[in-house]
């Protein structure tokens, strides 16, 4: 991810939750603090690399059989304001969830 993209990724969700998303023009006043936090976080990570680790999911030789499984429609949601499923962890491979028996 490029530096600019990282800043956007860090700042935009905060900006959205900070008020601009609800249509309040005062929300834009949060842009300064958000930019300061984003610049600090970005530079700190560039120097300290605290978020780095071995990408064993992609850098290990893995031979996988075709994926199997099932999908069953169980519900319909109408009129939610959430833009994604609650607790979306599809990309957080290392975030452990309950161990199935």
């Amino acid at each position: 991810m490029g530096i600019g993209a990282e800043v956007l990724a860090t700042g935009l969700p905060i900006l959205a939750s900070g008020g601009s998303g609800d249509g309040s023009p005062a929300g834009i006043l949060l842009a300064g603090p958000i930019a300061a936090i984003a610049v600090y976080g970005l530079l700190f990570r560039y120097y300290r690399n605290t978020d780095k680790s071995h990408s064993f999911e992609t850098e290990t030789r893995i031979q996988a059989a075709p994926i199997t499984g099932g999908d069953q429609k169980v519900n319909e949601i109408r009129g939610t304001q959430q833009s994604q499923i609650e607790g979306n962890n599809v990309g957080s491979h290392r975030q452990r969830v309950r161990r199935a028996p």
């Binding site: 023009p25 120097y47 300290r48 893995i62 994926i67 069953q72 833009s83 199935a100």
Partner: protein, 397 residues
């Protein structure tokens, strides 16, 4: 759905003898001239006699120590004798009797695998697999020279000067980089993974309200999802030192060393302590059973990663709620891997910062201590500038 019965083998593991029978403890001589001054020549990956310049190498471990076969047939637990459990009463310090003069020579296996007899100057090495876990099944020799490592560390640090801690810059001496053989377990596995959860597909998006009260609403279909994947992993690399495995970026920088993985472990050779002469080493202190949780964490992560492409149609995302891994078979090999390590102790934070270079691939990663004052000043300046622009926009609109 294919279902393989889980077989979490708790029975006795099969142990493959990986002891290098050609070598023993103490004096191990050059096969041509009999000298004990032997070192690795990194540019060729060969051992070289410093007296007669004869070069040779140990056999490759892969295919020699283990059957390099179909991993889908792997069942139960197999491990190299160098990966066997460490005896509770084992001591890191080993005393050898010099075959040259009879003197007693001490080797601290926590940091080295050889020592020079201070009486007759013979180099004594430890090659017999001992109960303290210091002698692994195989070693991957350095192929990147000290000079190359210095250049890579210098380049890495020079890109990060502006906000670096002033004391760090003042004391920066990349020539002090040390070659260290780090202990790892190299694990092959035959595994099944299952993940269970819910996913949502957006069916409609619309807005209600007007002007400042306009809000976006979504309709979605909710699905219950299950994914199953059978897979094998080849040479998964796990830290076998408890200290190195503890990766908490708030108190240490061990993640830096982890980041320079992987290594070309297929090129590892049978153990010969002479590969370590002139380098430092760290001893393994974890047994296979200690490392199973770390292995299962990595296998679960891989299963989740493998399942991800199959749920891409869930455009509102997936919430995985349960997961499991059935390990049908594993094979464990203990190995020393080569790392060039530059370390800097930041006194005010009581933290050691590493810049690490993979001794084979040259991959470099590091932690440079920051100058907090500078970083805060620049961040605040950017914040003020953005805020001023925001105020102008507000006033104009």
């Amino acid at each position: 759905m294919t279902s393989i019965p889980p077989s979490q083998p708790q029975d006795q593991p099969e142990v493959v003898n990986t002891q290098n029978a050609d070598l023993g403890d103490g004096v191990n001589r050059c096969p041509r001239c009999g000298s004990t001054d032997i070192q690795l020549r990194a540019s060729t990956g060969m051992l070289i006699c410093l007296f007669c310049r004869h070069e040779w190498s140990e056999q490759r471990a892969e295919g020699q120590l283990f059957d390099d076969g179909d991993l889908t047939q792997l069942q139960g637990t197999t491990l190299g004798s160098g990966a066997a459990d460490i005896a509770a009463d084992a001591n890191a310090v080993v005393t050898l009797k010099c075959q040259g003069c009879g003197a007693e020579v001490v080797v601290n296996t926590a940091a080295a695998m050889s020592s020079r007899c201070h009486w007759c100057r013979h180099v004594l090495t430890i090659n017999n697999q001992i109960a303290n876990g210091a002698v692994p099944d195989a070693v991957l020799p350095f192929s990147l020279s000290h000079q190359d490592a210095v250049a890579r560390i210098t380049e890495f640090a020079s890109k990060r000067r502006t906000f670096a801690n002033r004391q760090f810059l003042k004391e920066f001496t990349p020539e002090n980089v040390v070659g260290v053989y780090m202990p790892y377990m190299i694990v092959d596995g035959n595994v099944s993974g299952d993940v269970f959860g819910h996913g949502e597909i957006e069916t409609r998006r619309y807005t209600r309200g007007s002007d400042e009260n306009r809000k976006t609403y979504y309709d979605a279909d909710v699905y219950q999802i299950h994914r199953h994947v059978d897979f094998t992993v080849d040479d998964l690399t796990i830290e076998s030192s408890a200290e190195r495995a503890m990766m908490d970026a708030s108190v240490n920088t061990n993640n830096i060393i982890n980041t320079i993985l992987p290594f070309d472990t297929k090129n590892a050779v049978r153990w010969n302590a002479n590969y370590l002469n002139g380098f430092s080493s760290e001893k393994r202190d974890q047994d296979v059973e200690h490392l199973r949780p770390a292995l299962e964490h990595q296998l679960l992560s891989i299963a989740r990663s493998q399942a991800a492409p199959s749920v891409s149609r869930y455009d509102r995302g997936v919430r995985w709620e349960a997961e499991k891994v059935d390990v049908h078979g594993t094979r464990w090999v203990s190995m020393y891997l080569p790392v060039w390590l530059y370390s800097y102790f930041q006194e005010e934070k009581n933290m050691v910062h590493y810049i690490a270079v993979n001794g084979r691939t040259g991959e470099t990663m590091g932690s440079i201590p920051v100058a907090q004052g500078r970083l805060l000043a620049v961040s605040a300046a950017v914040g003020v500038a953005v805020e001023a622009a925001a105020i102008v926009i507000l006033v104009v609109s």
